[in-house]
Symmetry: C2
Subunit: 221 residues, 2 copies
Amino acid sequence: MTRQQATIVFDVNETLSDLSPVAASFEHLGASRELATTWFATVLRDGFALTTSGGDASFPDIASNNARDLLSTWVLPRDLDESVDTVMTAFTHAPPHPDVADGLQALHAAGHRLFTLSNGPTTTAERLLDEAGARGTMEELLTVDGHSPWKPARSAYTDARGRIGGSDPFYLAAVHPWDVHGAANAGLSTIWINRSGRDYPAHFSPPTLTVSGVDEIATHL
Amino acid sequence: MTRQQATIVFDVNETLSDLSPVAASFEHLGASRELATTWFATVLRDGFALTTSGGDASFPDIASNNARDLLSTWVLPRDLDESVDTVMTAFTHAPPHPDVADGLQALHAAGHRLFTLSNGPTTTAERLLDEAGARGTMEELLTVDGHSPWKPARSAYTDARGRIGGSDPFYLAAVHPWDVHGAANAGLSTIWINRSGRDYPAHFSPPTLTVSGVDEIATHL
């Protein structure tokens, strides 16, 4: 029996990377570690706002501006510029989740085609995959930048699919329900990586497949 | 000398309402009061995601789902359903900021046409304006619901302008830079209400006018 080769496009930030060092960086600066969650939500909020209103959205610019905005309301021991740099460095150097390296290797060994698709620059994915020793599992690292609006706009997925040229089954894999929803609405199959065991929000289209880590995907395909 | 009559469309949540009771409600439930900021950012993030991907976004549904999601990660003394209700009640009953009643009365007395335009239901604006004793200053309370995608999509502003039929000068007034940006990109003049003295984010189109409260607007028109 021959299994069908799948194409899987992975989201990057928080899907492959563990952002807990970003929380630690806020705490280390003397702010609340919960600011990390707020900060990441505001970055997506503003990026999506620019996408929906037709503006240009640069992930690193928004990330840096919003870290500055949140940190400016705290009295910090360090200079504000230096504090923003600390958070941004923690973000761009976030390590892979423990399930990523084995999971990608298993999928690659089984002959599936693997890609990344991020709203941010491909350099983040590249560094992360190098650290996981899994750069070679990926056929190409993609970003929406210069090609389409941010995910979850429909064209972000259809444009990536056009560039990749993959046949069915064609999956988007992400931890973020908004990303699963966008991909589903663009006609893709979807994999929701639910590491924390939370409920899927009722306001978004449900995933095709739910797993608790990247290392659980291969057995389901 | 006759001054020109302006049309001003006010955003509602956080622009007219003081959301600090929402932070207090999270704290009262045994969670972090900073969850209020995270929660509101995730509600907008998900609503904008649905707007950009062509889905239906109901503000109360998203608000309630996301309060549940955030609270589910805390060990709380009360039942989860009851806790979500507590947050939602604090949100829908948030009081007006102290500058709102006087500010709206002064604008109304000067002959300007005043409206609200929210991504949420008009009932929130109605209750808030009743509490401020300023319901009579508003010509009409508008929502995007049933008419257009959420702000900051261009058509949210152009549709409202079409329904109002206002001539220039035509302003959107809001505390949120993403709302100012969307209105500016839709051809409106804009008023940024900056109560906290923070910097305007460089990734959004700047406002026509910046004030520190609603009671400062009339002197600038």
